[in-house]
């Protein structure tokens, strides 16, 4: 079903912001690191928001999808580097990342999405740890020793290209994932999926009674969000750092960061994760210069303050403010 183009206007501020951010990274020398970090946070927020913001379910094991995505890219480069695939190697890596995260999200979703609220959180909180211990315990893909594949990358592409891939193109891919996540969020919001998810977020029983197949729509959002996380892991972690250790890549702190970003910006809004990612990224950058290692101590009480006092987040409050003005149709 085609909708009037006008309903897709809210994507404009998102695209423009990412464009400006990208431009700053290219133009201002020495800022590329910060910009790519900010893009990573925004992308993480956008991908996480697609499920948490739209359904109201908190997936504490979200980082597991990023982790398996990382392994997707790593496996492709580590085992196929001498097959002469050229850039196909990266494509295969991305496909593997998407496939792995889809499979894992299907497995987790099949159990967890039948559950609600507290039970859902309990079911998902162990996913990242569980998967990490499976990889370590069964010694899959080198187990706890991890995979270091810069050498493989260099053999496959040559030194120049390998450098460019890990320093520049990995970050460009993160921008791509961020924009993709934003576009998908808007498409979902403007179609049946979004309406169904809004209904179930407000009252799941009522939505069910009205004949909405809630499980189907929850699973759609869950898998989409997982695939985006997988792609993000493949680009922002595997390709950029060129190593994978299970204990790093399944670290729950990424889930915490995703939650903070989404809440700061406003859960369930399109612009929220972008704003949240920028606020979080910039303040974390500032804090890490002034004093490293204290970010969580400062951000944890902020989460509580936001939840208790400002549950709508920055964009949510801003949205109320501009209600009825011409700006309204650009910001959701």
């Amino acid at each position: 079903m085609m909708r009037p183009v006008k309903t897709y206007y809210p994507i404009l501020p998102v695209i423009i912001s990412y464009g400006v951010l990208f431009g700053i990274g290219i133009m201002v020398p020495g800022k590329w690191q910060l910009v790519s970090q900010l893009a990573f946070y925004c992308a993480l927020g956008q991908a996480f928001n697609l499920f948490m913001g739209m359904t109201g379910y908190v997936d504490f094991g979200y980082v597991a999808f990023m982790g398996v995505g990382t392994y997707g890219m790593a496996v492709s480069i580590y085992y196929l580097y001498d097959k002469g695939l050229g850039l196909g190697l990266i494509v295969i890596g991305l496909i593997l990342a998407a496939v792995f995260s889809t499979l894992l999200s299907l497995a987790v979703g099949a159990v967890a999405l039948r559950l609600r609220g507290a039970y859902f959180a309990i079911a998902t909180i162990g996913v990242n740890e569980g998967f990490r211990f499976l990889i370590e315990g069964a010694r899959i893909w080198n187990g706890a020793d991890g995979m270091i594949f810069y050498r493989h990358l260099k053999t496959a592409f040559g030194k120049q290209t390998a450098m460019a891939l890990s320093t520049m193109w990995a970050d460009v891919m993160v921008f791509g994932v961020a924009v993709l996540a934003a576009v998908l969020t808007l498409i979902y919001m403007r179609n049946k999926v979004g309406y169904a998810l809004t209904a179930l977020r407000e009252d799941e029983d009522a939505a069910k009674v009205m004949g909405i197949n809630v499980t189907k729509y929850k699973l759609t959002a869950f898998i989409t969000s997982a695939i985006l996380a997988g792609l993000l892991g493949a680009s922002a972690w595997a390709l950029k750092l060129t190593y994978v250790y299970p204990e790093d890549v399944f670290e729950i702190h990424y889930t915490v960061e995703a939650i903070i970003i989404v809440l700061l910006g406003g859960a369930g809004t399109l612009l929220g994760p972008l704003v949240g990612g920028l606020i979080y990224g910039v303040s974390k950058y500032y804090l890490s210069i002034v004093l490293p290692g204290f970010q969580l101590l400062i951000f944890a009480p902020i989460i509580i303050a936001i939840i208790v006092l400002f549950p709508e987040g920055t964009v949510g409050i801003f949205k109320k403010r501009i209600f009825g003005t011409p700006l309204e149709k650009y910001i959701i």
Partner: protein, 360 residues
């Protein structure tokens, strides 16, 4: 050979299971009364472990003495966290907080930025650590906002918010402990001899820990069954609106059971250090959170006794499966046991979400 190994491990599992059960009772109590899942559960266990460690190292007191101290610390923490963060979200008589809106948000954001800028010179003058003073500043700002916007909000906050709040409380605890004690793993050695059972050797500390958990569980049971206060709490578990109608102070019951639950959890941290007195670090709680969830779900999530029973079952299964994995070549038994407990959680949630004891 394997049978001998298995029976020895099962004895350990049984003894450890009692402590696991005790470590989960707090979680079940809080869920039963407040319908809140304490996602920061492991962090409170960590606090107990540090209490035990500090009392042993600094004062030379055995962990048994640390039990009442830990209970007190835990209940105090519980009260603090309940009134500071959890009450606005769950209280049945309205949260007492009006949503601040744009102006309030502006004030909050502005003061936060100002804090970030001002605190730097302040910390230099008073020789305080920048982040600590900033942290204190945020807490004051938060309290100030809570005070200013004292109104009444009748609607109950959605469930996910309580998950995020308890999660953040756990993170705060971990980070504060990390600032005080650094993140290095510590340990101590309390040796009071060993008991030789023939199939295995059991240190007396483990037996004391196990009996201690059993004792606390029995006390809790008696308190629930035989006293008026316990009856009031049970009535809230049953039906909080009904209890209110009958004149039970539900608000106070919420506060009391939250603080009691946290107290029990912190105490269990002490008992756990009698078992595993090494590897005490700020992030040690993570695995226990996961285990506690498995156990709580085994026992039916809302019942403290079910949790105790679930703990014993879990201890047996965990130690039994360890023997099994250790005998399969090419596997890391320790990591596989952790994976197994995760799979167990999913299977129970799928097959019997009401717990093993309860019928549907």
């Amino acid at each position: 050979m394997i049978l001998e190994q298995l029976s020895g491990n099962l004895v350990h599992g049984l003894v450890l299971g009692a402590v696991y059960g005790m470590a989960t009772m707090g979680l079940s109590l809080i869920f039963g009364v407040l319908q809140v899942v304490n996602v920061g559960h492991g962090a409170f266990i960590m606090v107990g472990a540090y209490t035990s460690l500090m009392m042993f190292k600094a004062m030379g007191l055995p962990p048994v003495v640390a039990i009442p101290v830990a209970m007190f610390i835990g209940m105090a923490l519980g009260m603090l966290f309940y009134y500071g963060a959890v009450k606005p979200l769950v209280s049945p008589s309205g949260s007492g907080i009006r949503k601040p809106g744009m102006k309030g948000f502006g004030i909050a954001a502005g003061s936060f930025v100002a804090l970030m800028v001002i605190m730097r010179p302040v910390s230099l003058v008073f020789h305080l650590h920048f982040a600590i003073s900033l942290f204190v500043g945020i807490i004051f700002l938060y309290g100030f906002l809570l005070y200013i916007y004292g109104g009444r909000r009748q609607e109950k906050a959605p469930e996910l918010t309580t998950l995020l709040v308890t999660f953040s409380l756990g993170v705060i605890l971990e980070e504060v402990v990390k600032q005080i004690f650094t993140s290095e793993a510590r340990g101590f050695n309390w040796d009071i001899g060993k008991l030789d059972l023939g199939i295995t050797v059991l240190p007396y500390t483990k037996i004391v820990a196990s009996l201690g958990s059993l004792g606390i569980a029995v006390l809790l049971y008696l308190w629930f069954r035989k006293t008026r206060a316990g009856m009031a709490m049970r009535s809230v578990v049953e039906d909080d609106v009904g209890a209110r109608v009958c004149g039970v102070n539900v608000d106070w019951q919420f506060a009391l059971s939250f603080s009691l639950g946290i107290g029990l959890t912190v105490t269990s941290g002490v008992l756990l250090t009698m078992f595993i007195p090494v590897g005490i670090n700020p992030y040690m709680g993570g695995p226990y959170t996961l285990k506690a969830f498995v156990i709580a779900v085994l026992g039916g999530l809302a019942s403290p006794y079910g949790a105790f029973f679930g703990g014993v079952v879990f201890g047996l299964v965990e130690n039994g499966s360890y023997t099994l994995f250790a005998n399969i070549p090419g596997l890391e038994p320790f990591a596989m046991t952790r994976f197994f407990s995760f799979v167990m959680l999913l299977v129970i949630l799928l097959v019997r979400p009401t717990g093993l004891l309860r019928a549907k």
